[in-house]
């Protein structure tokens, strides 16, 4: 099992190192990610939203739908935490005592 894990990790590292050759250089202004849509955001955000902080403008205005879904995700995570952890004691005795006995033996 240990050698399988080492092989998988080595394969992963080799694949990633091969992939880095095709990536743009460090801090390249002409990288594909920097010339596609982001110039529009930088140039238009003050005129569109009167917000100098471009990150805030993109977060809450241009991509507000994304942020809405993301807020739903984190609120759902909080609700899930309560639902997982609250009122365990009533369940414990009914269904889980079997495991505990088999654990002792």
């Amino acid at each position: 099992m240990r050698w399988v894990n080492a092989f998988i990790i080595l394969l992963f590292v080799a694949l990633m190192l091969y992939a880095t050759v095709g990536l743009p250089d460090h801090a390249d202004p002409q990288a594909p990610a920097n010339v596609h849509v982001s110039p529009t955001y930088i140039e238009d955000s003050v005129a569109d939203t009167h917000t100098p902080n471009i990150v805030t403008a993109v977060l809450a205005d241009y991509r507000g739908y994304d942020t809405l879904g993301e807020t739903v995700v984190i609120f759902t995570a909080g609700l899930a935490c309560i639902l997982i952890l609250m009122k365990r004691k009533a369940n414990d005795k009914a269904t889980l005592s079997k495991h505990r006995h088999s654990d002792r033996m």
């Binding site: 009167h50 902080n53 805030t56 507000g64 807020t71 909080g78 309560i82």
Partner: protein
């Protein structure tokens, strides 16, 4: 499990002095998100940190009386509702979903109204993150409520 209260006068004084300033800084970070680094997520985390610090030094009994986990749940839900209404209300006034230019604040127009809509949304995000993080902390620490 946080059961014991710290009896040390140093910890009590420092924490009780620090918490209002953390909360003030959190409000600053939320409001100032338009002009510098900051915004709803960061400010919400700072608010939650102030409440968690209070939980740590006061113990759960007194701290739950000051700010109960049910209140945290209510704050998170109110934040989500603010965000949802900022999305739905423009639909009723002839805009698209989350189109802040159609919010019914009639004395502000155009891009200014968009900035105001961003502020409303950031406050909603801040409250939602604040409530959720306090909720996760309370449920993980495992006190009944």
């Amino acid at each position: 499990m946080i059961k014991q209260h710290y009896q040390s006068i140093v910890i009590q004084t420092v924490c009780s002095l620090l918490i209002p300033f953390i909360q003030l800084f959190a409000l600053y970070v939320i409001i100032h998100g338009h002009y510098g680094p900051g915004g709803g997520f960061q400010g919400g985390v700072l608010l939650a940190v102030s409440i968690i610090l209070q939980r740590l030094y006061l113990g759960s009994k007194i701290s739950y009386r000051k700010f109960s986990p049910k209140m945290a749940l209510a704050f998170g839900a109110i934040g989500m509702l603010i965000f949802g209404f900022a999305g739905v209300v423009p639909l009723a006034f002839g805009g698209a979903f989350l189109d802040y230019e159609n919010l019914p604040i009639f004395w502000v127009h155009g891009a200014e109204l968009r900035a105001l809509g961003i502020l409303i949304v950031e406050i909603g995000i801040g409250l939602a993150v604040f409530g959720t993080l306090v909720l996760i902390f309370d449920s993980l620490v495992g006190e009944r409520w």
